[in-house]
C-alpha cells in the first residue's frame, strides 16, 4: 500500500499549517511559563541573591545549595506571619464573597425592578485596578481624613475606626476592599447558575408544597454545586495572588500586619536581595495554586471531550 505517501504538496502543506500556526504560541508558553517555572525552581535551590544571579560574595553563580532556602524560608517569622495572614484573609474573603454573592444573586433573582442597573453597580468594581480600589479605600478608611474624621465632624466625637492603622485589624480592611472588588463577580456566577435551573423543577417542587425556604435549601442551592466550585476555585486563586491591593492599601503594614506571600516574595526578591528565598516562596505559591487548579481544569477539560 503506497497510497498514504501520495499526498500532494498542497495537502501536505495544509496538514502542517495548523501545527505551524499554533507553534509560536506554544513555544512562548513552553518557554515563558513552563521553562521559567523550572528555572525559578532551580533558582530556589541556589545561593543567588540578586540579578544577574550573583551570590553573597558578589560572584556570578548559580550554585546548588539544596533545600537550605526552603529551610530558611520556613524559619523566617516574616514568612510565617504572611502565611497566617493569608489564612485569615483567604478564609474570610472566600467565605464572605460566597455568602454575599449568593445572597445578592438570590435576591436579584426575585423579578427585581431595575435588575440590570443593580447588576451593573455590583459588578463595576471588577473593571477597576486594585491600585485604584486600594487608593480609594486607603483614604476612606484613614482615621485622619476618612470615616472616623467624618463621623467625628458630624458630632459623634467618640467614634473610632482605625483598623487600617491597627496591627490587629488591618488585615480585615484588606478583606473589606477585596470583597468589595470581587463579590459582584461571585454574584454574577451564582445568578447565571440560578438562571440555568429548570423552571419546571421549581414548579414541581411548589406543587409538592415546598416553601420558599425549603425550595432554596433543598432544591435550588444543591443544584448550584458547579457555581460553588467555580467560585471557590476562582476566589482561592485570586486570594493567593493578592498583591496590588495590599501594596496600594497598606503596603503590607502596619509593621507586617498585612504581609501576604505575594508581597513577601516581591520584597525578598527585589528589595532585600534574597532571591533564592524569594524563588522558594514563589514555588510554594505555585504549588498551592496548582493543587487547586489542576484537578479543576482536568475535570473541566475531560467533561468537554
Amino acid at each position: 500500500m503506497s497510497a498514504r505517501t501520495e499526498a500532494d504538496f498542497q495537502t501536505r502543506l495544509q496538514n502542517w499549517l495548523p501545527k505551524l500556526v499554533l507553534s509560536p504560541s506554544l513555544a512562548m508558553v513552553l518557554i515563558f511559563v513552563y521553562g521559567f517555572i523550572l528555572f525559578t525552581v532551580y533558582v530556589s535551590f541556589t545561593d543567588s541573591r540578586i540579578l544577574p544571579f550573583v551570590n553573597n560574595d558578589g560572584q556570578r553563580t548559580l550554585e546548588l545549595i539544596g533545600f537550605s532556602n526552603y529551610e530558611k524560608l520556613f524559619s523566617l517569622s516574616h514568612w510565617e506571619i504572611s502565611l497566617w495572614n493569608m489564612a485569615t484573609f483567604a478564609g474570610l474573603y472566600i467565605g464572605i464573597c460566597t455568602c454575599l454573592g449568593l445572597g445578592l444573586a438570590i435576591f436579584l433573582d426575585q423579578k427585581i425592578r431595575a435588575e440590570g442597573a443593580l447588576r451593573t453597580i455590583y459588578l463595576y468594581p471588577m473593571a477597576l485596578s486594585f491600585i485604584v480600589t486600594g487608593t480609594a479605600w486607603k483614604w476612606f478608611l484613614d482615621p485622619g481624613i476618612g470615616l472616623e474624621n467624618v463621623m467625628q465632624s458630624w458630632g459623634w466625637t467618640s467614634f473610632e475606626f482605625d483598623w487600617i492603622k491597627n496591627r490587629d485589624y488591618a488585615i480585615y480592611t484588606v478583606v473589606l476592599a477585596a470583597v468589595w472588588q470581587t463579590s459582584g463577580f461571585v454574584m454574577a456566577m451564582f445568578l447565571a447558575g440560578l438562571r440555568g435551573i429548570d423552571n419546571e423543577i421549581l414548579k414541581a417542587a411548589q406543587m409538592d408544597g415546598a416553601s420558599n425556604w425549603n425550595l432554596y435549601r433543598r432544591i435550588i442551592i444543591p443544584q448550584l454545586r458547579p457555581a460553588f466550585l467555580s467560585a471557590f476555585v476562582i476566589l482561592s486563586h485570586l486570594a493567593i495572588k493578592t498583591f496590588d491591593l495590599v501594596i496600594a492599601l497598606t503596603g503590607g503594614g502596619p509593621g507586617r500586619a498585612t504581609e501576604l506571600p505575594a508581597t513577601f516574595m516581591y520584597s525578598y526578591t527585589f528589595s532585600r536581595n534574597q532571591m533564592g528565598i524569594g524563588a522558594s516562596s514563589a514555588v510554594i505559591m505555585l504549588m498551592t495554586i496548582a493543587a487547586i487548579m489542576i484537578p479543576y481544569l482536568y475535570a473541566e477539560l475531560r467533561e468537554k471531550k
Partner: protein
C-alpha cells in the same frame, strides 16, 4: 447582561419584597461608596477633605486636582503628572491586546477545527498558564528582559502581556469556535478554500462578539496590571497603575488627597468607560474565564 430575565416560579410576600429591595439598595450604596468618595473629593480643595468633609459635596468646586494629577503632580523625578504614564499604558495596551487576540483567535481555530493528537493537553498547558501566580516567572523574566535589552520598555511589557494573555484569548476563541459548525469548515475545504482562507472568510466574519469579549478582557487585565509593570518598568516607562501608586505612596510633602482621587479616576477611566459602554461583553468574558470548559 449575559443572563436573560426568566420567569421564575418563586413568589414572595409584600413585606419580604420590601426587605429584599432594602438589602439590594444598601449594597448598591456600598458598591457605589468608593466611587462617590473618589468623585466628590477630586473636585474639592484639600482643606475641605482634611476638615472632615470627605462625605460632603464640595463647597467650592474645582478642577485643579484633575489638572494637577494629569500634568504637574510629582511622580518620578520630574513633576510631569500622570500624563506620560497614561501614554505609556496606551502604547503598551494596544499592541499587547491586538497581538494576544489575533494569536488567540488562530489558536482557537486550530484547536477546534484541526484537531490532532494531544490538542487537549496542549490547550490545558496554555490554560493553566493563566492561573499561575506570576511571582513564579518574575525572576527569569526580569533576567530575560534585561538580556534582550527590553527592561523598562513598552515592548518588554507588550511581550510579557502577550505571553501571559494568550491563555485566556485562546480559551475564549476555542470555546466559541467549538460550537461553530464544523460542517462549514468541511464545505469550505471541498470548495477549495485554504487554511487561512477558511479562517478569514468563514470563521472571522462570525467572530465579532467573541472578539469584543476578548479585546475587552485583555484590555481591562493589561491596563490594570500592576505586578509586571512594577517589576519590569518602574521608572519613566512605568504604566499608569504603577505611576498612580507612586503618586499616592510618595512620602514627600503634603498628601494631596484630592489629587490622589483625581489620579485614581484617571487610572480607572479607560476600563470604566469600556465597562459602561460594553458591560455585557465584559461580564461574558468574566464568566467564560471562570466557568471554564
Amino acid at each position: 447582561m449575559s443572563v436573560a430575565m426568566q420567569d421564575t416560579a418563586i413568589r414572595t410576600g409584600r413585606a419580604v419584597r420590601v426587605l429584599i429591595y432594602l438589602f439590594l439598595l444598601l449594597f448598591a450604596l456600598f458598591y457605589l461608596l468608593p466611587l462617590y468618595v473618589m468623585l466628590v473629593n477630586s473636585v474639592k480643595p484639600l482643606s475641605e477633605i482634611t476638615g472632615g468633609g470627605m462625605m460632603a459635596l464640595p463647597e467650592v468646586w474645582t478642577i485643579e486636582p484633575w489638572l494637577k494629577a494629569w500634568s504637574t503632580a510629582q511622580i518620578g523625578v520630574e513633576p510631569t503628572g500622570l500624563k506620560p504614564y497614561f501614554w505609556n499604558s496606551i502604547s503598551m495596551v494596544v499592541p499587547a491586546v491586538a497581538i494576544s487576540t489575533i494569536l488567540g483567535a488562530l489558536n482557537g481555530y486550530v484547536l477546534t477545527k484541526w484537531r490532532f493528537r494531544y490538542d487537549t493537553i496542549l490547550f490545558g498547558l496554555m490554560l493553566f498558564a493563566c492561573f499561575i501566580p506570576f511571582q513564579i516567572v518574575l525572576i527569569p523574566m526580569a533576567a530575560v528582559l534585561g538580556f534582550l535589552g527590553l527592561a523598562g520598555t513598552a515592548s518588554g511589557l507588550v511581550l510579557v502581556h502577550v505571553v501571559y494573555g494568550i491563555g485566556f484569548s485562546t480559551l475564549y476563541f476555542r470555546n466559541y469556535y467549538a460550537v461553530f459548525p464544523t460542517e462549514l469548515v468541511r464545505a469550505a475545504q471541498i470548495d477549495g478554500a485554504s487554511f487561512f482562507k477558511i479562517f478569514w472568510r468563514i470563521l472571522l466574519p462570525s467572530s465579532g462578539p467573541i472578539a469584543v469579549v476578548c479585546i475587552i478582557w485583555q484590555f481591562t487585565n493589561i491596563w490594570n496590571d500592576f505586578l509586571f509593570g512594577a517589576s519590569f518598568a518602574s521608572g519613566d516607562g512605568a504604566p499608569m497603575t504603577v505611576a498612580l501608586n507612586n503618586l499616592v505612596q510618595s512620602s514627600t510633602g503634603v498628601k494631596e488627597y484630592n489629587v490622589h482621587f483625581a489620579g485614581a479616576i484617571l487610572a480607572a477611566l479607560p476600563t470604566l468607560l469600556v465597562y459602561i459602554v460594553a458591560g455585557r461583553y465584559f461580564v461574558r468574558g468574566l464568566m467564560a474565564g471562570s466557568v471554564k470548559g
